[in-house]
């Protein structure tokens, strides 16, 4: 009958009227984000970085610029570099994550943010100071050691450099040759139950540093 479908249409909208709206009030509410989200503001740990520039080489867009110079702190060792520049021109970045996959020392992580909009293109270049000072909420992308701990970059606390590596590697057992800075872990950053084995920390009295004899084995 002509007109019966009008009533049906009214009922359809009335049914939707009683449903809960699916709007997410964005600045106050957020959609739950996957820990592997490849976001902005790369998380970079200066302590782990050797300046090998693998990330710059692997970047398909060539937007990472690294300038290193021999470190004045230990020039005799010859292999310690000081990072002068670490610029990521994030305006052309496509967040493929190849730089993170390329990093041999787990020093570079994808970030978890998406709110770094800027008014100027100049501001889109993330320089070394920004990378140093940014909150370290690394994405678990290509970092199974983080994923295994169940780390949620958006909800959990920032991670310290000693908590994020694949520490099974021999040269990570202690401060490696390329690592220049040995700062103790601030106590407020230490988890109550360390998710990652931190026995490699040299100044940890519970686990003394490996002796040269052990190292030789």
């Amino acid at each position: 009958m002509y007109g019966i479908n009008l009533a049906k249409g009214l009922m359809v909208t009335l049914k939707n009227f009683t449903k809960k709206p699916f709007t997410v009030q964005y600045p106050e509410e957020r959609v739950k984000q996957h820990p592997r989200f490849r976001g902005e503001e790369f998380v970079w740990y200066e302590e782990r970085c050797t300046g090998c520039a693998s990330c710059a080489k692997y970047c398909p867009l060539g937007i990472i610029k690294i300038v290193t110079s021999p470190s004045e702190t230990a020039p005799a060792e010859g292999d310690k570099y000081k990072l002068e520049l670490f610029d990521i021109s994030i305006n052309r970045c496509m967040f493929c994550g190849l730089c993170v996959e390329a990093c041999p020392y787990d020093a570079l992580f994808m970030g978890s943010g998406f709110e770094q909009g800027q008014y100027s293109r100049k501001d889109m270049v993330v320089d070394i100071d920004q990378l140093r000072q940014a909150d370290k909420h690394p994405s678990t992308f290509f970092r199974p050691q983080l994923e295994d701990t169940g780390y949620d970059p958006r909800a959990d606390r920032p991670l310290h450099w000693q908590e994020v590596g694949r520490e099974g590697w021999q040269w990570h057992q202690r401060e490696k040759m390329g690592m220049r800075i040995s700062r103790p872990v601030p106590s407020d950053l230490l988890p109550d139950e360390p998710k990652v084995d931190s026995s490699f920390v040299e100044d940890n009295p519970a686990t003394p540093a490996l002796t040269p004899a052990e190292e030789a084995e």
Partner: protein
């Protein structure tokens, strides 16, 4: 100076007016207090209607948002209630443009001509017992006369804008308004016959049974016809955004646009108020002598919800479908309703020419049967003239016979 309104004065029935008049009459001469009381009532009415229009624009946006599973405006004020204020401030700060080829005088007075009938209608609607501004004995005629000014305003807007889209919208709008005027008036005749009066106050007191039960067909025709006259979504060919951008008010901006919008939203409220008075029993309800205004506002709210619901549901009709709906469907229904009502009243009324409650219930029963029979018959007679699509060939494309 003790000023007392004459008992033959048309404003004597309005309690609020009489109170203001007598209070002001203590200090001012009677002639001046007459004017002052009138201005006070005017202030109340105009601000009431315009504030109501603003509030309704927010309510409708929230409601339609919820119908679409959204939230709607909720950023400013509690639940976004100050959104109309934000819209108003935005529109007031916009440039008030007049097209170069426009008829400047006509173009400028259109918003006023649009808002005026909306406010004028409220003058005769009784908000509560003895609270209408004027208890006209030709109230229904007055409402019909005043609301038809809108079609002139729409045509003025379209004609003076010097814009083809505005002209399209205006001619569509006038076609729709004139077409729907006929079934709406015919449906109101049934109400007038049953109530035995054109005064809205008498219509309210006559509704021992609400007239949407006694006159279901008339209520349906009036609802459909009014939403067409309001240019709202299923019938909004006059300002169809996707076809002719904004129709007759395409060239309006700033304050003028704000007034036109206020007139559109206010018209929904005033139409709801008229419909409440004519069909839903007006201010009558439990404790009507104290809570009449509350019942009145509640019923307006229900009707406004129905308007928003219809708007959120139906897509726009084509102009020919729209006119066909008026002439081929609503007009026959209203004529049938008129005849049925006239016969029922002729046979049921007592010697004094009045109907008691039993008669009204009896009429309600008959008229519901008539309404269902009519809808069934017309629904079956008017087949949707959509043929199944045949194969599209080059011949049909070139001659345009595909439809």
């Amino acid at each position: 100076m003790n000023c007392v309104l004459g008992s033959d004065n048309i404003l004597n029935d309005t309690v609020l007016y009489r109170v203001i008049y007598e209070a002001v009459g203590q200090v001012l001469p009677c002639g001046m207090s007459y004017v002052v009381a009138g201005l006070a009532m005017m202030l109340l009415l105009v601000n009431g209607v315009l504030l109501g229009a603003g509030l309704f624009s927010w309510v409708e946006r929230r409601l339609i948002g919820r119908f679409h599973n959204r939230i709607g405006p909720n950023r400013w004020g509690p639940f976004g209630m100050l959104q109309p204020l934000a819209d108003l401030v935005k529109l007031l700060t916009k440039e008030d443009l007049t097209p170069r080829g426009a008829d400047k005088l006509v173009f400028a007075i259109v918003p006023v001509v649009m808002v005026a009938p909306v406010i004028l209608v409220m003058a005769v609607v009784p908000f509560a017992k003895d609270t209408a501004l004027a208890n006209l004995n030709v109230g229904i005629l007055y409402i019909l006369a005043v609301t038809s000014i809108t079609s002139i305003a729409i045509f003025m807007a379209g004609w003076s804008s010097d814009n083809r889209y505005a002209m399209f919208g205006a001619s569509r709008g006038v076609a729709v308004l004139i077409s729907y005027e006929v079934p709406v008036v015919m449906s109101l005749l049934g109400v007038v016959i049953v109530a035995g009066s054109m005064s809205l106050d008498d219509v309210v007191t006559a509704q021992a049974v609400p007239f949407f039960l006694v006159q279901p067909l008339a209520f349906f025709v009036f609802l459909a016809g009014t939403s067409a006259e309001l240019n709202r979504t299923p019938f909004d060919v006059a300002e169809a955004e996707s076809e002719i951008i904004a129709g007759y008010h395409i060239e309006y901006s700033g304050v003028k646009f704000a007034l036109i919008q206020a007139a559109e939203f206010g018209a929904v409220l005033t139409s709801s108020a008229v419909m409440v008075t004519l069909f839903l029993g007006g201010w009558s309800g439990p404790f009507a002598s104290y809570l009449g205004w509350a019942w009145f506002l509640m019923k307006i709210g229900i009707l406004a919800f129905i308007f928003s619901w219809v708007r959120a549901t139906f897509p726009r009709l084509r102009i020919d479908q729209l006119l066909a709906f008026a002439w081929k469907f609503l007009l026959p229904l209203s004529i049938i309703n008129l005849f049925a009502t006239a016969l029922e009243v002729y046979f049921l009324r007592d010697a004094a020419g009045t109907l008691d409650t039993t008669d009204l219930w009896f009429m309600a029963g008959i008229n519901f049967g008539v309404a269902f029979a009519c809808l069934l018959i017309f629904g079956t007679l008017i087949k949707e003239k959509v043929r199944p699509a045949g194969p599209i060939t080059g011949a049909t494309l070139s001659t345009g016979e595909a439809d």
